[in-house]
Amino acid sequence: MHVIACIRQVPDYEAPAGLFTVEGSPPAIVASREVKPVIGLFDQHALEAALRLKDAHGATVTAVTLGPPGAVDVLKRALHMGADAAVLIDEQPYGQLDAAATATVLAAAITKLAPFDMVLCGRQASDWDGGVVGAGVAERLDLPLASLVKALEIQNGDTRVERLIDGGVEDAALPNPCVLTVTNELNTPRLTNVKHILAAAKKKIPTWGPADLTLPVEAVTRAVRIRIVGLAKPIVDRRCEMVAGEGPEDAGTNLALALRASKSL
């Protein structure tokens, strides 16, 4: 069984808002030195799901990332967690990519990695928060898709999932190969493992360019459908009325009175 996990390197999504500014013309997001590049939140869950399939069914796991050369770090992390192989697809030839173009490139890379039984993605990237690429990959590859997956297992060669719906879950079965986008309720991502770290030191992570994907750059740039034309930090113009008291209980009482006075209660 071969499982492909699509992961992405993003600026630390836990970094407080104050560490980001918007500067320049055209505007760009600038992150402080303190903000470390990490694997996207939901991508970790996707990778973990792939590794659990490896534990349970002996699947081989390939991690794929579309990004700049520095993104090889997230692929190394994937190897350190137990992935068998990793591939970096160089994003530099393509200019500004949107979800549609990203899905086009990823689909080409996944095709090159065939045969495979499952493609796992996070439900949305932790930087652009789109939630579109996973579906795009499925559509480009003409594969069945289930999104917002919070539980998954293989049963009789099919993939059985629980997905999030309003007020509950939906149980569905998909034939393999299929594409799944996963959410954080699915699992807890594991730690890196020293044996994998030492083994990964000997592994090479290839970088694929347009020639390797047999995908001309124009085909990708022509697929772009969304452009970012503006960036700004949200202005929150609110003055909080701090309610105090002689100790926390008193403050609680005063809070109730303040809300009552302003007719919020």
Partner: protein, 330 residues
């Protein structure tokens, strides 16, 4: 921009035979866009024939209501709905297609976008026409930054709208709309099989449209502490929510999760207890009319969004607050 694409199409959401609140919000935004771009405002509803829902859509401002009456479409099915919406777009050629950024919309919109090769901007908090071109404003970086996006390519432009970001359209009960029945396209057989849907009977009110939400975060510490929030919520006639940390810890269900990947709520009163105010959470609640925060850290970001704040240990503040509320309300 293909000149034969005109007007706006919204995809309505129906639950238990009634329109959900997002539909009214979509119609409000759709109306403005249709007027600015020139063209009609259409609404697509699946699963039933003409009836209460279609006349409600008309009352909320749709010029034209498209129905696909196949009863198998009464509940959302990804592949069938994708085929249906794509076929409707092909048939009606709207210039803009709007869906809600709901659990359905998050699944359906990307599928449709790739099927019809259209640009899609998700989770928009605002959509407007600027110099004849559509512009969407959407939060990125977990809500820390706002991005303005533009669409490229021929054909329709798709967007999902964040719930509660827009005011719902006002009702005009005698407003009429053209009802057009469309045929369910002869689709390929569905590959994914839906086996069952399990909805837990919500224990108590749900946060989605509750007038008051009492929400707990990491600072609560245990599941039992959420019972104290429940006590306050019940007193105020509201529901209990929480942050992603609370969901991950198993103290609340994902149906109660407020935030970027949870629910967006816009209650009259939102009380955030032990929540630091990370952007992903604020994205879900900053629209509340009155936002109250209780946190031990005076520098917690949530105080930048709150109308009222108390710096202190919630375990002490909350019981006193609850007691006083009880006194004031009875």
């Amino acid at each position: 921009m293909g000149t034969d694409h005109t007007g706006v199409l919204i995809v309505a959401e129906v639950s238990e035979g009634r329109l959900t609140s997002i539909t009214a919000e979509l119609l409000a935004v759709g109306r403005t866009l249709a007027d600015d771009l020139g063209g009609p405002l259409g609404a697509l509803v699946m699963g039933g024939g003409p009836g209460e829902v279609t006349s409600e859509l008309a009352a909320l401002g749709a010029d034209c209501v498209y129905t696909i009456g196949d009863p198998t479409l009464a509940e959302y099915r990804p592949e069938a709905y994708t085929d249906a919406v794509a076929a409707t777009i092909a048939a009606t050629r709207p210039s803009v297609v709007l869906l809600g950024h709901t659990l359905i919309g998050r699944d359906l919109a990307p599928r449709v976008a790739f099927r019809v090769d259209a640009g899609l901007a998700t989770d928009c908090i605002a959509l407007a026409v600027d110099g004849g071109a559509l512009r969407g404003t959407k939060p990125v970086y977990g809500g820390k930054i706002l991005a303005t996006v533009a669409w490229e390519g021929e054909g329709a432009r798709l967007a999902t709208l964040r719930p509660k970001a827009a005011e719902p359209a006002s009702r005009q009960p005698d407003r009429q709309a053209t009802i057009v029945a469309l045929e369910m396209p002869a689709g390929k057989p569905e590959r994914a099989r839906i086996l069952s849907r399990r909805r837990a009977a919500a224990e108590g009110p749900v946060i989605d449209n509750a007038p008051v939400v009492v929400s707990g975060g990491r600072g609560l510490g245990t599941k039992e502490n959420f019972d104290r929030l429940q006590e306050l919520a019940a007193l105020l006639g509201g529901a209990v929510g929480g942050s992603r940390a609370a969901t991950d810890a198993g103290w609340i269900t994902s149906a109660q999760q407020v935030g970027l990947t949870g629910k967006v709520v816009k209650p009259r009163l939102y009380i955030a207890v032990g929540i630091s105010g990370a952007m992903q959470h604020m994205a879900g609640c900053q629209g509340a009319r009155t936002l109250v925060a209780i946190n031990t850290d005076p520098k917690a970001p949530i105080f930048q969004y709150a109308h009222y704040g108390v710096v202190g240990d919630w375990a002490k503040v909350l019981p006193a607050f609850t007691a006083k509320c009880r006194e004031l309300l009875t």
